[in-house]
């Protein structure tokens, strides 16, 4: 798996939400914070990670994730998944 692939998968999961919040693909850059922006609540963020775990057959260490800077931004999340 590479960054581009994971990004596409995550964007796919967020599709409906992005439409509702009127957020374009351009805005969803590495710095975009999925939680602080209000796009996802904390449980929805965990659901998103759970789906990613299932898809790529990985297990995320949530405590480490929460301690890594910018973990709820697109870029932060994607690099954490790659290194998981």
């Amino acid at each position: 798996m590479d960054k581009r692939e994971i990004r596409e998968f995550v964007v796919g999961l967020l599709k409906e939400k992005l439409l509702l919040f009127d957020i374009s693909g351009d805005e969803l850059n590495d710095k975009f914070d999925l939680v602080k922006s209000g796009l996802l609540d904390s449980m929805a963020f965990i659901d998103l990670i759970a789906e990613t775990e299932e898809k790529y057959e990985i297990e995320i260490d949530f405590e480490k994730l929460a301690d890594s800077p910018g973990f709820s931004t697109m870029g932060g999340l994607i690099s954490f998944i790659i290194n998981a």
């Binding site: 409906e16 509702l20 919040f21 009127d22 939680v35 209000g38 609540d41 904390s42 449980m43 963020f45 965990i46 659901d47 759970a50 949530f62 405590e63 994730l65 929460a66 301690d67 973990f71 709820s72």
Partner: protein
């Protein structure tokens, strides 16, 4: 003096002068320092409006200034009223108007929000310390100690004024039942607009313990917060434990530094209670229950290896606090029921009335033929009681639901959407997925535009009341009584 919150606070400031009262990250404020800051603010409040009795609004992040502002309001013989930086401006403005507050104590984080709130208020945003002498207290037990707002049915939040007598009755009971020690470190996970934060602050300070403030209020950081701040007494909504469970954090002995855990604010899943207890090494876990109108909490159930009572997977609410009263109401006959009905509460913790709303007060605070001299607060919670006198939550009698512990009246959301769309056919429901979310249905409008509806909601409502999505229907499904068929709506989502 026993029933005055400011008096309890003053005694603690003297008795525990050198103890740590507040901790934010590595920054610590002692009781003596907090006292000095609070007194300086109290003198500012009194100098500005010496004869005024209106509540003092508090606007800010969880900073030393904010907590000192709360103490300062009380030491100035006033009530405090928390605003919330995360609320839309219109909500904070409404609270200012309804309360008649003239003074806002604000920290640096509140700067922009203050500019938007207008210039009609006296703002205290600095502590100059020029005058930090004690002001003689002029408070009677009936005076309001804090004023909070909760979701109403009409689009206007309901003001809940909690008196000094109410809150002191709560603190006296809780501090006797669960002794907090000077070396305890208490959590503070709740927003200050949530009355459970009152428990955090004052149970801590009357005991000489240290209140530990999370530097980052992201719920994902709770585990590192517990670890870094060495929390020994925990208090949160059950949702926080559910989230930690989904993060696979509730492992055996993971948080065994916690010697006492409180949960309150929403139904507590028994399975999570069990996992939490294992994670805290089997230490005491207390499930509290109570509406803001009965001051923080009014019943408790201690959950342990042997006492694991539950109903439909929801932990028992336990018994009403000693000295407080409850009855189950048969709402058809309007008389006490045997073992099942709407839970009504009475006693020194129950407030007398909503703020400035006689009609609403009459609806929720009632007298019964059996005890005409007594007033009962109708909680809207359906409950049953077992042979041992333990209460169980069965559901709601009205359109109020809970989102992460916050009370949400679905009709308040409907009112906002009706206004935004002009449609008279609006129904919001609670959709229970992993967690509960709100879904709003709108019927019979020409140009469905869910974005503009959501924008209107974001402008008027706190974040936890914003629907997750809007579904447009040609016609609302109706039941045989001609009412909107909420079960059919729920099926539409699931199907």
């Amino acid at each position: 003096m026993k029933e005055i919150l400011a008096y309890k606070l003053q005694s603690a400031f003297h008795e525990y002068k050198d103890n740590a009262a507040l901790r934010i990250g590595d920054d610590v404020l002692s009781y003596g320092e907090l006292h000095q800051m609070a007194n300086a603010i109290a003198n500012d409040i009194t100098a500005g409006f010496p004869d005024d009795k209106s509540p003092v609004a508090i606007l800010g992040a969880k900073s030393f200034m904010t907590y000192a502002g709360i103490c300062g309001a009380l030491l100035a013989s006033r009530a405090y009223m928390p605003l919330n930086l995360k609320f839309p401006d219109s909500r904070n403005e409404k609270m200012m108007q309804l309360s008649g507050a003239k003074i806002i104590v604000a920290d640096v984080e509140a700067k922009q929000a203050l500019e938007r709130l207008g210039e009609n208020y006296k703002i205290i945003s600095e502590v100059d310390g020029a005058n930090s002498t004690n002001i003689p207290l002029a408070v009677v037990p009936e005076d309001t100690a804090y004023l909070l707002f909760t979701s109403g049915t009409t689009g206007t939040p309901k003001g809940v004024p909690v008196s000094n007598r109410n809150v002191c009755a709560y603190l006296d009971h809780v501090s006797k039942q669960w002794q907090i020690k000077e070396n305890d470190r208490l959590s503070q996970t709740f927003d200050l607009t949530f009355d459970l934060s009152v428990h955090d602050m004052f149970l801590c300070w009357i005991s000489g313990a240290c209140l530990c403030i999370p530097e980052d209020d992201s719920p994902f950081k709770l585990a590192s917060y517990i670890r870094e701040q060495e929390i020994s007494v925990w208090f949160s909504v059950p949702s926080a434990a559910v989230l930690m469970d989904r993060m696979r954090l509730l492992k055996e002995d993971k948080f065994k530094g916690i010697r006492l855990s409180f949960f309150c604010g929403e139904p507590f899943p028994a399975a999570i209670a069990e996992k939490w207890q294992a994670a805290v090494g089997g230490s005491e876990l207390v499930n509290l229950y109570g509406p803001s109108e009965a001051t923080i909490a009014i019943s408790s159930y201690s959950w342990d290896n042997i006492n694991t009572k539950e109903k439909n997977g929801i932990a028992c609410l336990g018994k009403i606090f000693e000295g407080q009263e409850s009855l189950l109401l048969d709402t058809t006959a309007m008389r006490p029921a045997e073992s099942k009905g709407e839970l009504c509460l009475g006693g020194s913790q129950v407030i007398d009335a909503y703020l400035g709303d006689a009609e609403l007060t009459k609806k929720y605070f009632i007298q019964l033929d059996e005890h005409p001299e007594k007033t009962w607060y109708r909680t809207g919670d359906l409950a049953c009681i077992d042979e041992e006198g333990d209460l169980f939550f069965l559901g709601r009698a009205d359109s109020e639901v809970k989102i992460s512990g916050y009370r949400v009246n679905l009709q308040e959301i409907d009112a906002i959407i009706r206004k935004a769309t002009g449609s008279n056919s609006v129904a919001s429901i609670l959709h229970e997925k992993q967690t509960a979310v709100i879904v709003s249905f709108v019927g019979g409008i020409q140009d469905p535009d869910d974005r503009s509806i959501l924008q209107a909601c974001r402008k008027e409502l706190p974040w936890y009341m914003i629907p997750e999505r809007i579904i447009f229907v040609d016609k609302m499904p109706l039941n045989v009584n001609g009412k909107i068929d909420r079960n059919a709506l729920k099926q539409m989502i699931n199907g």
